[in-house]
């Protein structure tokens, strides 16, 4: 269970409880602070309020351990080494296959991957850390229809199997209808519930 209590960045405040295995979609106009909220939950930026995961408060544990538990997928994937495999700490054959990659992808050069390939690889890289909760910032924005379907399926299965709460930022109402258990929208300084 992921609890946000009075989480405040700039002018937006979020009070939200995401249950185990629940997927909550968050939408709102660009610049409304969706990404900032995700980054605040991952404790990457200074913020007000508390975030609690399964009874443990973010402020009470070392920041890197918190971030391993509450995994954030930034909107644009970033890479630091030359080859794909250098970014993975363990073999992820099943997850790679679920997103359409064979095991040979680990030898690929990052510079030669397309934006969509990098995005799918970034999702597998995040899951390789085995996070117990997911914060996804428009994970399928750069993907085609087939890719979108595969990612939605993979995330949903992960969330079910690990009982992981998921906060999923999405602009796509079709996607929200497919994956969300609840839909919230940022409106001004707060968040309103949108009926599914």
């Amino acid at each position: 269970m992921l609890i946000m209590e009075g989480l405040r960045v700039r002018e937006v405040t979020l009070d939200l409880v995401i249950e185990k295995g629940e997927i909550v979609c968050l939408s709102g106009p660009s610049g409304s602070g969706k990404s900032l909220l995700l980054r605040a939950i991952a404790d990457l930026i200074p913020h007000e309020g508390r975030v609690i995961f399964n009874g443990e408060e973010c402020a009470g544990m070392p920041a890197h351990l918190w971030r391993r538990r509450v995994g954030l997928l930034p909107a644009e994937s970033q890479w630091w080494a030359d080859r794909v495999g250098e970014h993975f700490s363990q073999s992820m054959t099943a997850e790679l296959a679920a997103l359409g990659f064979g095991p040979e992808v680990l030898a690929w050069q990052i510079a030669r991957c397309s934006t969509g390939e990098r995005q799918r690889l970034a999702i597998v890289r995040l899951l390789a850390q085995a996070p117990a909760a997911l914060l996804l910032d428009e994970p399928t924005a750069s993907l085609d229809q087939a890719g979108i379907g595969r990612v939605e399926e993979l995330i949903r299965r992960y969330s079910q199997r690990r009982q992981a709460p998921v906060l999923w930022v999405s602009h796509d109402s079709g996607q929200v209808a497919r994956v969300a258990d609840r839909h919230l929208r940022i409106a001004g300084a707060g968040v309103e519930v949108v009926s599914l």
Binding site: P46, H64, R67, R68, P74, W80, Q129
Partner: protein, 263 residues
């Protein structure tokens, strides 16, 4: 062999060459004559003043005066380190980081050289202490400025990458490791190049000066090697310390990248 003493007439003859160069620049409309003459005037005035200061210092070789001179040199070097960075840290950190690092490293290595290796009496005798410290500070200053400039610039440009690494649960020191490694390398390049080229491509200035003033070449060479090693060690330690402290300062207690701490 006694060194040949230069008269002021000798200097005037040399200055004549600069005047000819300036005249040529005027004639060819290259527009560097102003800068050239001002720089030549500055070098004359600054070096004459330093000569007077050193002469006075040698006449009153007390620890107090030597320390005071060393302090002034350190403070100026600290300012230079800050001024040469594109994005120094905000506030007192911007000045204090480079200055403190140079203080620890340059003073420690200079003291080590004076007390353990050269071992003259008294150890603070300005004829050895001031030139040694000057060379230490000058080189350390370049190295630290290059390394810190690289580190903060890298963090600025690679913000998204560093934050992704943090988001994947890496500790700050792992997330910034590539930039620290690169900064240390960049900071050490000048002195490594200087050591590699010494004697083959260039004759180091200190050694040349000693030879000109009549020191036997082998003695001058030994001093030059000593100085090179001291400079390299001092610069290296200073860079390691500066990038470690600088890296720390880029992150807060929650291991967040804090670019708002840079100017």
């Amino acid at each position: 062999m006694n060194p040949i003493v230069l008269s002021y007439t000798d200097l005037l003859i040399a200055a004549g060459l600069i005047v000819v160069l300036a005249a040529l620049s005027l004639l060819l409309r290259l527009r560097v004559e102003g800068q050239l003459l001002i720089a030549a005037a500055r070098t004359t005035v600054q070096l004459l003043l330093v000569g007077l200061v050193l002469q006075a210092l040698f006449a009153h070789a007390s620890l107090t005066w030597v320390s005071l001179m060393a302090l002034v040199m350190l403070l100026i070097a600290g300012y230079e380190v800050m001024a040469r960075q594109k994005r120094p840290f905000k506030g007192a950190w911007g000045y204090a980081l480079g200055t403190a690092v140079m203080f620890i490293s340059s003073f420690a290595t200079s003291l080590f050289a004076l007390l353990v290796i050269i071992g003259n009496e008294p150890w603070y005798y300005p004829q050895y202490a001031i030139p040694l410290l000057g060379m230490m500070l000058g080189n350390t200053m370049t190295g630290v400025a290059l390394a810190l400039d690289r580190l903060t610039n890298f963090a600025w440009q690679q913000q998204a990458v560093i934050e992704t690494r943090l988001a994947l649960g890496q500790e700050w020191r792992v997330a910034i490791r590539d930039s620290v490694r690169e900064s240390v390398r960049v900071g050490l390049i000048p002195i490594i190049n200087a050591m590699a080229a010494a004697g083959v491509v260039s004759l180091p200035g200190m050694m040349t000066g000693q030879i000109l003033s009549g020191t036997p070449p082998m003695e001058a060479v030994k001093y030059q090697i000593l100085i090179m090693f001291m400079i390299t060690a001092g610069t290296g330690f200073a860079i390691l310390l500066a990038t470690w402290l600088g890296g720390r300062r880029l992150f807060d207690a929650r291991q967040r990248l804090r670019l708002d701490r840079l100017k």
